[in-house]
């Protein structure tokens, strides 16, 4: 089976610091994959490289067998940003945010057509934000804001969704909604890659897990990934003792 994301021999430096060291991984299509690691383990760098925002020193990324730039042009890749990366005072409504998912399909001036409106309404319905469509995004809870950005990816029709720390600053109820939605999206055949350092949602959320510590230290089932001796590879022993 063709992997949805195929990363081979990726090495990235920031100045003298090696952020990723010979990372190779294949993300399977139609599944939810958890990308687990501490802060500074290279999760964000890996996302940025897959998105083409950081140029690797060595190695390649393929998205559904095509070059990343081409995959992005074709609207294959949807991105849900970290909450703190979003300016919540920006004067846009929930509907505006979801509509941005359609920009790649629109013409030169990005005029909104009927099919775009339909796709946006449907996406908002799916994330249960239809009643909030006209709210400015600053008037949402953390979990609702996350869902607004997820609606953007759905409206886009992205086949691959990248989510950066989707559970940071999210209440339990929204977390459950997001987990359910991501499961549904995977069952429809979309590929979901979730970067997180939050382990407790993992068993319900993900089909498989990748542990990252500048290199891939583990790639397999969630149950195996959560075994203490495996986690120690990514988090070190001190941290595990603190959790236990």
């Amino acid at each position: 089976m063709t992997p949805a994301i195929d990363v081979a021999g990726l090495t990235v430096h920031y100045g003298q610091v090696r952020a990723l060291d010979d990372v190779s991984l294949r993300v399977r299509p139609g599944r939810v994959t958890g990308l687990i690691g501490m802060n500074g383990s290279g999760k964000s760098t890996l996302f940025k490289t897959i998105m083409g925002m950081t140029r690797p020193d060595r190695g390649t990324v393929l998205i559904e067998d095509s070059a990343p730039a081409r995959a992005r042009k074709n609207g294959l890749v949807g991105y849900v940003p970290q909450t703190e990366d979003v300016d919540r005072t920006f004067p846009v409504s929930v509907r505006d945010v979801a509509t941005m998912g359609r920009y790649g399909r629109m013409g030169f001036t990005r005029r909104v057509r009927g099919e775009d409106r339909t796709a946006v309404s449907k996406a908002l319905e799916r994330v249960e934000l239809s009643d909030y469509a006209d709210r400015q995004i600053g008037q949402l809870s953390g979990g609702q804001a996350k869902r607004a950005f997820l609606a953007r990816g759905i409206a886009q029709g992205a086949r691959i969704l990248l989510l950066d720390e989707p559970f940071a600053g999210v209440d339990k109820r929204s977390e459950a909604t997001i987990v359910r939605l991501l499961r549904e999206l995977a069952e429809e055949g979309r590929t979901v890659l979730v970067s997180t350092h939050d382990l407790h949602a993992l068993p319900r959320l993900a089909d498989e897990a990748i542990l990252l510590q500048r290199r891939v230290v583990f790639h397999g089932t969630v149950a195996e990934a959560l075994r203490p001796e495996t986690l120690a590879l990514a988090f070190g022993l001190d941290m595990l003792e603190a959790v236990a």
Partner: protein, 291 residues
């Protein structure tokens, strides 16, 4: 004096008609651009580029090229130098901006001092709205029209760039190119505005209208209407005041804009200081009652 005379008398003078036309054009295009600058946090960048174009404009005057060309070259040079200093040394961005724009502005002042026909060029620094010629008005109108058309047609891409450049990248747009487009438009607009208020005050017209509109609405589309409308009203009022008070026109235009911002800052229905205080008090009271 009756209000009709207040409005009509200045229009008997052709220089005032030209001044009014130029002011309105500059107010509209600056205000539109300011919506993006305020949201991205590029106020300092706006200040930098509008100052840095000075040597370009002077050199363009010397060789007889269009002002806009010189401004674009030096605007781009300023942005490039700022980026280079920030990325290749330990100096932080705000210091890089401070170094580059003051140096280029100073170079402009030196060039003015050694170029014959000084009177003309000092007007670039302080603005000389009452002295614009018909050909100046034509040049300003063309530049403004170009900036206006690009801003309106590309408003959604530029909004996306301001809001979430990562998503722009994800759907195959080029955030760097959008940023460069916005900076190019900034250099063009600076040329338009510096004829009205001068290099030193251009940044006011590039920030205040957007900030005022931002306090009045939660929709970007409405900002793009409110900013030009308030900016135009302020600019026209400022120009009339300068006629009747016989005071600096560029100065008064900016002062009126600042006064309106002050009013909105206190009185805006949702984001004003007064409204926020009232909401907080009401909340506290209902909380006390509930107990």
């Amino acid at each position: 004096m009756n209000p009709v005379d207040f409005v009509l008398e200045p229009l008997h003078y052709e220089f005032m008609v030209r001044a009014l036309a130029t002011t309105v054009i500059a107010a509209v295009v600056c205000a539109l651009l300011s919506c993006w600058l305020v949201l991205i946090g590029w106020s300092l960048m706006g200040d930098a580029v509008s100052h840095a174009v000075l040597p370009g404009v002077v050199l363009a005057y010397v060789v007889g090229a269009p002002f806009a060309l010189g401004a674009l070259v030096f605007g781009g040079l300023a942005v490039g130098l700022i980026g280079a200093i920030r990325d290749t040394s330990r100096v932080k961005e705000d210091a890089a901006i401070g170094i580059v724009f003051t140096t280029l502005f100073a170079l402009g002042l030196v060039l003015i001092s050694v170029t014959p026909s000084q009177t003309d060029l000092n007007h670039i620094v302080f603005g000389n709205i009452l002295g614009v010629s018909t050909s100046d008005v034509a040049q300003i109108a063309i530049l403004a029209a170009v900036a206006l058309v690009v801003l309106v047609l590309k408003r959604r891409d530029l909004m996306l760039y301001a809001f979430d450049p990562t998503h722009a990248q994800a759907i195959g747009l080029n955030p760097r190119r959008l940023g460069a487009l916005l900076l190019g438009l900034l250099a063009l607009t600076a040329v338009v505005a510096l004829q009205v208020v001068g290099v030193i005050l251009v940044v006011a017209m590039l920030i205040i209208p957007g900030a005022t509109a931002y306090l009045l609405t939660d929709r970007f589309g409405r900002m793009l209407v409110i900013a030009p409308v308030t900016s135009t009203v302020c600019a026209v009022v400022g120009l009339y005041l300068s006629y009747w008070l016989d005071a600096s026109s560029g100065g008064l235009i900016v002062v009126v804009q600042g006064v309106l911002f002050g009013l909105v800052f206190f009185l805006s229905p949702r984001h004003g200081v007064v409204a926020r205080r009232l909401t907080r008090r009401r909340r506290r009271r209902s909380y006390t009652l509930a107990r």
